[in-house]
């Protein structure tokens, strides 16, 4: 999970983390649970370093605390430490709790985040697709999960499928600039530059949360416009 080379997927990462308190593991000693609560508060305060330290305490007391593993992985991923993030996502999956709503929520996030990390970090794309589809099968379609699958399929060189899935994600969440950017990527991969341009314009119209993000999208659109002009000039 986390950001992909400055593409600003932070929104989607947060959206998926939405289930995390629900996923708070029932097992564990009282001190681990106290530390877990404190860690969550630290994360909310915008103190990732403090949160990571507290999650480490949780895991020291309860090495199978799946939610603490997922959050640790998520925070590490956001910091760019993808390798360690993957270790924690895998640990969360190893300790998954079957048949429990909260355990299932943790599992879905771990599956999705691991799939995203593998797909965008040069990992095993076959495994990434399997994980991503498993997350969707467990949770039902959600925009963020569909987006991850679209990204995986793009990486696997299946842009038509990716486009179809990204379109569905964009229908459910038409204001998510990360999802719209995935759809633009799928359009480009299929040679539909005009379609990509339209989607990027829509992403800008959705007023991205940060000026940096808006600039990134505007730059991409401008680059496509320049390419379009060049192509027109080159035409006979």
């Amino acid at each position: 999970m986390g950001q992909e080379g400055g593409r600003g997927r932070r929104g989607r990462a947060y959206a998926l983390a939405a289930l995390l308190l629900a996923a708070h593991a029932a097992a564990g000693c009282a001190s681990a649970e106290d530390a877990y609560r404190e860690a969550t508060l630290a994360r909310r305060r915008g103190d990732p370093a403090g949160a990571l330290e507290l999650y480490a305490r949780v895991l020291a007391a309860d090495p199978r605390h799946a939610a603490a593993h997922v959050y640790t992985g998520y925070l590490l991923d956001r910091e760019g430490d993808r390798d360690r993030a993957i270790v924690h996502y895998r640990a969360a999956l190893a300790g998954r709790v079957a048949g429990d709503d909260q355990g299932r929520a943790v599992t879905v996030i771990a599956l999705n985040n691991l799939a995203f990390a593998l797909a965008t970090g040069g990992g095993d794309l076959v495994e990434a697709e399997r994980l991503s589809r498993e997350a969707l099968a467990l949770s039902g379609e959600r925009p963020g999960l569909l987006d991850t699958l679209a990204i995986v399929l793009l990486k696997r060189g299946r842009p038509a499928e990716a486009r179809q899935i990204a379109q569905r994600a964009a229908e459910l969440a038409p204001d998510d600039d990360g999802i719209l950017e995935t759809l633009a990527d799928a359009c480009l991969a299929m040679g539909d530059t005009e379609g990509a341009r339209d989607v990027l314009r829509e992403a800008l119209a959705a007023r991205p949360a940060s000026a940096v993000r808006a600039r990134e999208l505007a730059d991409r659109l401008e680059a496509l416009d320049r390419r379009g002009v060049s192509a027109t000039q080159a035409a006979p």
């Binding site: 929104g11 947060y14 959206a15 983390a17 939405a18 289930l19 995390l20 308190l21 629900a22 708070h24 609560r37 969550t40 909310r44 909260q102 039902g140 379609e141 959600r142 925009p143 229908e171 459910l172 969440a173 038409p174 204001d175 998510d176 119209a205 959705a206 007023r207 949360a209």
Partner: protein
């Protein structure tokens, strides 16, 4: 995103083990013709009767915009302290996972503030219940969740909207500093009460604008689509062909037009 944080808070509360309330000699009463159970401690019979009347009013009033009341059982607890730490600063809260409303009573017996506040709290929390039921307990952004609860709950219960009591709302609106909806969501997690009041005030005005533009049934229609995994923005687009960003800009402009000098 703050909607996430709001959801985290709500679900975190829902996960906590319920604390037995009422105890020996406490009151447990089901509102006739409803799936609502009221639970309170001993010597709170009058409060329970008042709560019953207020909730019955809320159910009837809300039916116009929300349709028939949810059939899901709801427990309303009048408590001296919440059963878990989440939302500790609030007078009342709704726990979606447990289908429980807790109203905290000052001193264990007095009403929250006064009778009007008590009624407003109950209506507000009941709207959360009804809205979450329509949304299938899918996450809702705080501005939407709280704003709808304020519009159909607190300010439909008889309490008058007073912009000057909305924390920093009036000063911000007068200065033309209307936040984005995502920023309103973040304000709900402020530690000081003034900023939380500000968040409720902005959220209320956003929900009121939504209803003014798209009709009384708009929030419920949107919640129905959220149940189908649309975001609130996705629901707005599908139902009313309107971008969330465009609605947001319109709401911001409406506040500036109304309050800015």
């Amino acid at each position: 995103m703050s909607l996430t944080r709001r959801r985290l808070l709500a679900l975190g509360a829902a996960l906590a083990a319920p604390v037995p309330l009422g105890g020996c000699g406490g009151t447990l009463r089901t509102i006739p013709g409803s799936a609502i159970t009221l639970r309170a401690g001993p010597m709170q019979g009058r409060l329970v009767a008042r709560a019953e009347a207020d909730l019955d009013d809320a159910r009837r009033h809300l039916a116009a915009a929300f349709g028939p009341p949810p059939a899901t059982p709801l427990e309303v607890r009048l408590v001296s302290a919440f059963s878990s730490p989440a939302g500790a600063g609030a007078a009342a809260r709704y726990l979606p996972g447990q289908k429980v409303i807790e109203v905290r009573l000052a001193g264990g017996a007095d009403l929250v503030g006064d009778a009007r506040d008590f009624r407003a709290c109950l209506w507000h929390e009941y709207v959360h219940f009804a809205l979450h039921e329509r949304a299938g307990d899918e996450p809702l952004p705080a501005w939407f969740d709280e704003g709808v609860a304020e519009h159909f709950g607190r300010y439909a219960s008889g309490l008058a909207w007073q912009p000057d009591r909305g924390g920093e709302f009036l000063a911000a609106a007068r200065a033309g500093r209307v936040p984005r909806l995502a920023e309103v969501d973040r304000l709900f997690y402020a530690t000081d009460h003034a900023r939380a009041f500000t968040a409720y005030a902005f959220a209320y005005t956003a929900a009121a604008r939504l209803v003014a533009r798209f009709g009384e049934d708009a929030p419920v229609a949107m919640a129905d689509l959220v149940r189908q995994r649309y975001t609130v923005g996705g629901a707005l687009r599908r139902l009313y062909a309107t971008r969330l960003a465009d609605f947001e800009a319109d709401w911001q402009a409406s506040l500036v037009a109304r309050y800015a000098a």
